[in-house]
């Protein structure tokens, strides 16, 4: 009962325009002061232990930074060129290439909106030039962009792993097959629509173009080798992999692609050579471009982590009042089996996704449902992937959907137009969600093969 009040307060504050972080934090503080005997100091302590006590979350700023260095436009352009060379000649080729490019960019970036911005900016314009409607282009990119959090690396997966204490490495590995599957399903859907509606197709430009484009794009794509290979090859922890990825992305953007930093020149002219300007090795560190990228990545980290830290305050208050136990008992007493339970989880997340930024929502919901899932014998990694896919759908459904906002901004379309445009592909993602929810094998086969099952020894 009291808990219902707490959640109503949070939603009320959200709707009148209080920032998410403050809505979560303030509601939790008021709840704690009224119903518990813990001190305000314990809230401050919890706020700080969002950093000190959750080493896993440290991967987030590094993945954001790596993605920021990779989002300078040059990387996306090279990836898109490669995609078009590979699949541009199919019916609906440019749209399929857009999905393919989103999948590749998702492998460099941990967030979905970043994927939409980077790929959407170029592909939507390109699609319109060859005769697609603006709506179709926006719908495709809006959906494919959600793969940013399913294909590793993924900030949302890091948050899930931190919230319930499972291995980030396993979560990343678990996202690979579902990510390929979701991307594949979207491409097939586009192909089918293209055949029916007779959409434009490009020309096969030959293997030479494929190889030339691949050679250009490979520096960026090597990032995923560093991240996944580094974690599974036993070179780094996931957090270290993220930091190495950030350093690598900086080096590639500054010294190889030279899209930014001291060796970059304005549009159109050839970039400078490092051999001619060796001082760049030092000046790159303090170059305004580097500083700006660090600040932009820092700012995004700040806003995300401030939400997460306040969600952790809510989690602390709920734990302090033993709410998760009560919910677990109630649900088990109601005789929920795994199937019914997963439906409930899906519904909670789909509704919650309407109001909340995905990471914050996960921090709150995951600890509530995790103990029940373990009682019911659900694989913790499978549960994580279900949650991630729900977050993806939340991003493209109204009224609140991160990718809808971003796509409408990038494409210059009203929100409702994007919503309508996204609908056919949203249906594809729904089928995908059902598949993921009831076929655990898709999520677990890769991590089990490489790392064995996740142990819950608690």
């Amino acid at each position: 009962m009291e808990v219902a009040l707490l959640f109503l307060l949070i939603i009320g504050l959200l709707l009148v325009g209080v920032p998410i972080a403050v809505s979560l934090g303030l509601s939790s503080i008021l709840f704690l002061l009224v119903f518990s005997d813990s001190s305000l100091a314990s809230i401050a302590q919890t706020l700080f232990s969002a950093f000190e006590g959750h080493y896993t979350l440290l991967a987030i700023p590094f993945f954001i930074l790596a993605s920021a260095f990779m989002s300078t436009g040059g990387v996306a352009r090279r990836i898109i060129r490669f995609s078009i060379a590979c699949v541009g000649h199919f019916p609906g080729g440019l749209a399929i290439a857009g999905v393919f490019a989103c999948m590749m960019f998702a492998a460099l970036s941990g967030s979905s909106p970043a994927t939409v911005v980077a790929i959407g900016t170029i592909v939507i314009a390109g699609m319109r030039q060859v005769g697609y409607t603006k709506e179709f282009a926006a719908g495709v990119i809006c959906n494919a962009g959600t793969l940013g959090i399913l294909i590793p690396p993924s900030i949302v997966m890091v948050v899930y792993a931190a919230a319930v204490d499972v291995s980030v490495g396993r979560m990343f590995l678990a996202g690979v097959l579902p990510g390929l599957l979701a991307g594949g399903m979207l491409m097939v859907a586009i192909y089918a629509i293209a055949r029916i509606r007779n959409l434009p197709k490009g020309e096969w430009t030959g293997w030479r173009e494929v190889f030339a484009a691949a050679r250009e794009a490979v520096w960026g794509l090597l990032l995923i080798v560093i991240i996944l290979g580094g974690i599974y090859g036993g070179v780094f922890t996931p957090t270290e992999a993220a930091a190495v990825a950030a350093v690598y992305a900086f080096l590639i953007a500054t010294f190889v692609y030279r899209d930014m930093g001291p060796l970059a020149t304005g549009d159109g002219r050839a970039n400078l050579s490092l051999f001619r300007h060796p001082a760049a090795l030092l000046t790159a560190l303090v170059h305004p471009d580097t500083r700006r990228t660090l600040f932009e990545a820092g700012k995004l980290t700040v806003t995300l982590m401030f939400v997460i830290a306040n969600a952790l305050i809510l989690k602390h208050v709920l734990t302090d009042e033993q709410i998760p136990q009560q919910i677990t008992e109630a649900m088990l007493a109601a005789g929920f089996g795994p199937i019914m339970f997963l439906i409930v989880v899906n519904v909670i997340l789909l509704i919650g996704g309407q109001f909340m930024e995905p990471s914050g929502l996960l921090v709150i919901v995951a600890p509530l449902v995790f103990p029940i899932a373990m009682e019911l014998g659900i694989d913790p990694i499978h549960l994580g992937i279900i949650m991630v896919v729900n977050m993806e759908i939340g991003m493209i459904t109204p009224p609140v959907g991160l990718n809808l906002f971003v796509t409408s901004g990038v494409a210059g379309m009203p929100m409702m137009a994007v919503v309508k445009a996204a609908l056919p592909f949203l249906a594809v993602l729904f089928v995908f969600l059902i598949l993921i929810t009831y076929v655990p094998w898709i999520s677990t086969v890769v991590p089990h093969t490489f790392m064995g099952p996740e142990l819950i020894t608690n």
Partner: protein, 312 residues
């Protein structure tokens, strides 16, 4: 579920409730308090670090936000460096010697040594003796040379690994299994029950039965809270604590023996040392004592040595 008027005792710990020696003891303590002290006191247990981790729980206790905790002994080095005695390698020859030292005057005095800082030790809870494992056989200390070992955050344990020519690495406990499996670190040290519970044996070449150190816990509360209790309530509570401690500590040897057997049954390799091999390990690690002797105090070391002899 506490009733109006009952003294609420929040016990925050970091393990499960039904398999780990500490978790079992905490559960038993809560059951007894909640039945025998019904109406007077009520204990809520928060397992699995859901409320606080070991690094934060003592802060929360001093703030009055939690009343009981049982961190491992090395966590108390911040409060008084005497507690480093429990991390020094080969200080105690077996768990009986540890038990004898803890029961001695020196050991009991350590329970009270942090009153100045606001903490009162109530009882020592055993986990057991530490064993070593790595991704290659460890029979002589030279085998550990150049390996990366995950250690608990402690200067003594870092120095111990450096004395072996290894590299100590700090790492969250939850990441250790993955790090061992992938080879980010090569080895670790732990008790049988932790090695079995966290399945470390699956991702190591084998476990060497070194018994070189111990992992025990200190059941601790705040001085201010204990003082605030009604004397009758306090006495009854402390009596229950003492009885639970005795019952569970008696079991600890069996728990670790069972865990060791389970490791073997599950296909883990367990290596025992010959007296000569063991002497080599002692010789390699004991120099660590010099560095921390002043922190620990000569009387405590003497008491530990006599505990070793007493339990022959």
């Amino acid at each position: 579920q506490c009733d109006e008027g009952e003294t609420v005792i929040k016990f925050s710990h970091v393990t499960n409730t039904d398999k780990h020696p500490k978790g079992i003891a905490a559960t038993l303590l809560a059951e007894r308090v909640n039945t025998e002290m019904n109406g007077k006191a009520c204990m809520e247990v928060f397992p699995n670090s859901t409320l606080y981790d070991d690094n934060k729980v003592l802060e929360a206790m001093l703030q009055g936000d939690v009343q009981l905790a049982a961190p491992s002994l090395s966590k108390f080095e911040k409060f008084t460096k005497q507690f480093r005695i429990f991390d020094l390698p080969f200080m105690f020859k077996d768990i009986n010697a540890v038990e004898a030292f803890q029961a001695s005057d020196a050991g009991q005095a350590m329970l009270d040594s942090m009153q100045r800082r606001g903490l009162q030790g109530l009882a020592y809870w055993h986990n057991g003796m530490k064993q070593m494992s790595a991704n290659k056989p460890l029979l002589l200390p030279t085998d550990a040379q150049g390996l990366k070992f995950r250690v608990q955050s402690s200067d003594v344990l870092a120095a111990q690994m450096e004395a072996l020519g290894g590299t100590p690495q700090a790492m969250a406990f939850s990441e250790v299994y993955g790090a061992l499996q992938q080879g980010v670190v090569d080895g670790q040290e732990n008790t049988w029950s932790n090695i079995y519970g966290k399945k470390f044996f699956e991702v190591q070449d084998g476990i060497t039965e070194t018994n070189h150190g111990i992992i025990d816990y200190l059941l601790v509360t705040s001085v201010d809270w204990l003082d605030s209790l009604d004397p009758a309530v306090r006495d009854q509570f402390l009596t229950i604590v003492a009885e639970v401690t005795e019952a569970r500590n008696k079991e600890s040897t069996a728990v670790n023996a069972a865990a060791k057997q389970s490791v073997i049954d599950a296909g883990g390799v367990v290596r025992t040392l010959t007296p000569e091999q063991r002497a080599a390990w002692v010789k390699a690690m004991k120099p660590v004592w010099d560095k921390f002797a002043d922190d620990v105090g000569a009387d405590n070391i003497a008491a530990a040595q006599s505990a070793n002899q007493m339990t022959n």
